[in-house]
């Protein structure tokens, strides 16, 4: 089993990007059910972190308001799961209901530390 980072990207900067309260309601239950399903398999490696939607972008001599201004798909959430390979991690990610709302998920394996 390795740990995989699921990075949820969604559009936070377009004008109509913010979901309506109703849309939020619609997505929250399926999302929690999806998480519960991962947790039920004991494959949730860390408590999920919700991210604030504004943030800051820091460059060498410049700090601007975030989220990261040059791409439409900002990071909306981070989830660390356990899976045996990329195929399994991808399959878990594919079931995420936020994908239906235009989000995308980047799946990245954490590189095992050779000293451990």
């Amino acid at each position: 089993m390795n740990e995989y980072l699921l990075i949820i990207h969604r559009d936070l900067i377009s004008k109509d990007a913010a979901p309506s309260p109703q849309q939020m309601q619609d997505v929250i239950k399926p999302f929690q059910e999806w998480l519960g399903g991962i947790a039920a398999q004991n494959k949730l490696a860390a408590p999920p972190k919700r991210l604030d939607t504004s943030g800051r972008v820091v460059k060498q001599n410049l700090v601007t308001d975030g989220p990261y201004a040059e791409v439409k798909e900002s990071v909306g959430g981070l989830i660390v799961i356990r899976a045996k390979d990329y195929d399994e991690a991808t399959e878990i990610a594919q079931a995420c209901p936020i994908l239906n709302w235009g989000a995308s998920i980047e799946v990245r394996m954490t590189v095992p530390n050779p000293n451990q």
Binding site: Q32, E33, G36, A39, A40, Q41, N42, P47
Partner: protein, 417 residues
């Protein structure tokens, strides 16, 4: 009431009160002396009361005799005086003036202080529970062994080792300080939770004893609610959880002592007073930001006090299990979550999720699969029930599985699969 019926109850409650108060005064190093004095007192009571009858105020009698015994002990035993007098925290260290304070308040203070000493992660959880049952609740080694389904010897060793460990580290017996509550209280609550579960789920046939364990866990939990520092939302949530479970205590068994499953229980026998009390405490627990596992489990238990199968009930239960699992994984929660999922999303969908759980060492995994496949594919269902049967030994669990298999034959849908 004659001595033989009065004594066991009185002994249990007064044993724990006096041992706590004395240990609170003497410190953890001298717990044995506290126990010896209290045991001597009860021996004297047994002997005297059999001859003269039970006095009008047996408690006052016990306290007076215990006081005398301590004074004598302190006078007689120079070594005792030397070693203990400097440890006595709350009284003048002179034998003549030593006053055993058995007021309601000091008993409560002593029990609270002892709770924090005993529920210490220095010892494994099962050792903490055994020690709590013995010192805090006054159960005998034999009673604890019965409940844990093991021998007296095992429990005796477990308690002694745990006690030695606390002495080695010289863990103080004192009121919890406000800055340590957030670190220490979760472990105390967890031990009470396990103590309650020990009574609620014990395989022991001794129903009275099991109920006493549950009552004791609730009594200690109430002590925490009554104390300003330990009265947190999680403390109240745990109490609510215990109330909801305890409300079904009487309806879980038939007259032959066989278990009655939830679906077959007569809900008119559920204790409404306890349900009301649980609801009251759960409401008060639901302030602030904190959502502990006790909140979530109390919520699940609350919905189980509604017998009727409604979409709302199972959708709330599913939500709560989803939260609980994200907070803390456990196989039981994973299985129950999947059961709740089947009520909302249907058996076919639940089967897909159940088969991912891979809890192949757990008989309940196979009974869950058996249940989910019932009516969908009875051949597979029967196979899962059979696997479960090979994994359980208790007659009650076996009977339950066999009943489920029999239902498959009555279904008639067998031929379709």
């Amino acid at each position: 009431m004659d001595a033989s019926t009065l004594l066991p109850n009185l002994f249990r409650s007064e044993y724990r009160n006096m041992v706590s108060v004395l240990s609170y005064s003497f410190g953890i190093k001298h717990v044995e002396i506290a126990e010896d004095i209290v045991s001597d007192t009860f021996l004297a009571a047994t002997e005297t009361w059999c001859v003269t009858g039970v006095p009008d105020n047996p408690r006052a009698w016990l306290y007076a005799v215990a006081r005398n015994k301590i004074r004598n002990h302190l006078k007689r035993d120079a070594l005792f005086e030397k070693s203990i007098s400097k440890d006595i925290a709350h009284t003048t260290p002179s034998s003549e003036e030593f006053e055993l304070d058995l007021s309601v308040k000091n008993i409560a203070d002593s029990q609270l202080a002892m709770m924090f000493t005993i529920c210490n992660p220095l010892n494994a959880a099962e050792a903490q529970i055994a020690l709590a049952l013995n010192l805090l609740c006054g159960f005998s080694i034999q009673e604890i062994a019965d409940a844990f389904f093991t021998s007296k010897d095992v429990i005796y060793k477990r308690i002694n080792r745990a006690r030695e460990r606390l002495k080695e580290e010289n863990v103080p017996i004192r009121q919890p300080m406000s800055d340590e509550i957030s670190v220490r209280l979760p472990n105390v609550l967890m031990t009470l939770y396990l103590l309650f579960s020990e009574g609620y789920y014990s395989l022991s046939q001794n129903t009275n004893l099991r109920r006493d364990f549950c009552d004791e866990a609730m009594r200690l939990n109430m002590l925490l609610i009554d104390h300003k520092l330990t009265d947190t939302p999680a403390t109240k949530a745990l109490y609510a959880l215990m109330c909801f479970h305890a409300s079904r205590f009487d309806s879980r068994q038939n007259e032959q002592g066989e278990p009655i499953l939830y679906d077959d229980q007569d809900d008119s026998r559920w204790n409404q007073a306890l349900i009301t009390q649980g609801t009251y405490f759960l409401n008060f627990a639901s302030v602030g930001e904190e959502v502990s596992r006790f909140h979530l489990e109390a919520g699940i238990a609350y919905w189980h006090t509604h017998k009727e199968d409604t979409t709302e009930k199972w959708s709330k239960i599913l939500d709560l299990y989803n939260h609980l699992l994200v907070l803390e994984y456990s196989p039981v929660a994973a299985l129950n979550r999947t059961f709740a999922l089947s009520k909302i999303r249907g058996k076919a969908r639940a089967i897909v999720e159940a088969e991912k759980l891979m809890l192949v060492d757990n008989p309940h995994y196979f009974t869950l699969l058996g249940h989910l496949y019932s009516g969908i594919d009875n051949k597979i269902a029967r196979q899962h029930f059979k696997t479960a049967l090979t994994m359980v030994t208790s007659p009650a669990s076996r009977a339950t599985i066999v009943r489920n298999m029999e239902k498959l034959y009555f279904d008639g849908s067998d031929s379709l699969s």
